[in-house]
């Protein structure tokens, strides 16, 4: 029991000492996960909308695949990405293993189905109706696109924040393709896992607290967007 309390005390001390190594690790985590979320959004949102608003044969199959990939274990994504990026793999010549780029790639693969799935789901229901209504009011292609994005604005934000949350808190993928190398590819989650292995609880707890605050912050954003949708109007 003692060492848990000590851990927290040590943790606060460490956080407020602004250790440059800790700061670097946190910033790298944010950079990797934010980038992955950005790419995931650029791919997942248009695809999710396009697939969602159209009725086509095999749509049920597509949605089943999509929902399966949404909850794919990160460690398996890391494994498969590593197979491709390894020196002996198809993309070996780019020497991407153990780099932040590899981590971004892996997390993008992780996050894109999540974002796409959420957008697809809403586009299939309310998105479809919005398109129909827009058409009956005389909207042409471009108008409909703008209309859709505006109507699905809250959903897109929810998808984004959910995707980011998933990225920042996973450890399996970044551990395998990143290698937790000090100064290069060490992020919050791999740092916590490693220090826990070494029995160094206070730094683990410190980093854990930082990670939880970031998680809390992004979830508050999510909450705000869901609530905001109900009361919002524009001028």
């Amino acid at each position: 029991m003692d060492y848990i309390l000590n851990g927290f005390v040590e943790a606060f001390r460490l956080i407020f000492s602004f250790d440059p190594e800790i700061i670097q690790i946190v910033l790298l985590s944010l950079f990797v996960s934010f980038s992955a979320t950005l790419y995931g959004t650029l791919i997942g949102v248009p695809l999710g909308i396009a697939l969602g608003i159209h009725h086509f044969r095999g749509k049920k199959v597509v949605s089943r695949f999509l929902y399966t990939f949404m909850s794919f274990p990160p460690v398996i994504i890391g494994l498969f990405t590593a197979l491709f990026l390894a020196r002996s793999g198809p993309f070996g010549q780019f020497q991407l293993m153990y780099t932040p780029t590899a981590m971004i790639i892996a997390q993008t693969i992780l996050v894109t189905p999540v974002i796409m799935g959420i957008v697809f789901n809403h586009a299939s229901t309310s998105g479809y109706e919005v398109v129909q209504t827009g058409k009956t009011l005389g909207a042409r292609r471009w108008d409909i696109l703008i209309l859709l994005v505006l109507e699905l604005k809250a959903v897109i934000m929810i998808a984004l924040v959910t995707g980011f949350g998933r990225a920042i808190s996973e450890v399996g993928a970044v551990m395998i393709v990143g290698g937790n190398i000090r100064g290069f590819t060490r992020v919050m989650t791999t740092f916590i896992a490693m220090n826990n292995n070494m029995g160094q609880y206070s730094v683990s707890i410190a980093m854990g607290l930082i990670l939880m605050s970031i998680s809390f912050f992004t979830n508050s954003l999510l909450y705000h967007f869901i609530l905001g949708d109900q009361n919002e109007y524009r001028d």
Binding site: T136, L137, E151
Partner: protein, 238 residues
Amino acid sequence: MNIETSHIKKIYKEKTVLSLDGQFSDLQFESGKIHGIIGPNGSGKTTLMKIIAGLIAPSSGAVLYNGQPLCQDIFSEMTYSTHTPTLFSRSVYQNIAYPLKIRKQEKNAIDQTVSQLLEEFEIDDIKDQSARHLSGGESQKIALARALSFSPKALFLDEPTANIDPKSIQIIEAALQKRNREQGLTIIIITHNLSQAFRICNHLTFLDQGSCLFSDTPEKIMTTSHSTIDEFISFNRF
């Protein structure tokens, strides 16, 4: 806008949902009239409406608009509204202004049109509120105001006054009749409310189980002797 249908058939998932043949293979929806489509549930009313509104294609048969087949220009002069309208997540004012905005009208012109509509439908007090989460009556009035804002030539309504308060029904019917009278707006309306049908329609079409049983003036429907129609009317009239 004159609308004519010819031998319309719609098959959905191997079931014939709608089949207009025999005596009623060619239906006429004359310009400038208010046409009611009535009949029991599942008779194909919504299917027929969606086909003539250009939203779905028939499995066979044709629809002509002023003698022409459907094209984008004709389609943009028609509009469609259901009993559960999809309003955009923006203010009431912005919803109504939307069709005018995408037609690139001037701000002042838009403001004038929208203000008139807000007054006519008595929804001026909620014009800045979000259009979501409003009552049934308010939603319907907004949807209708929005649909009428760009002065379409044909209006298709699928049970526009189902489950809303009597005052709103009155306002909506008055708005419809006004435009029909003053601008010659062709209106085609599905309704379960027979009093409404008799109140505002110049022409009634009766569907039952995918077939048409009657298509003539409301007065004639009272004298027609068809068991299904008689049953339906006596059951629904009060």
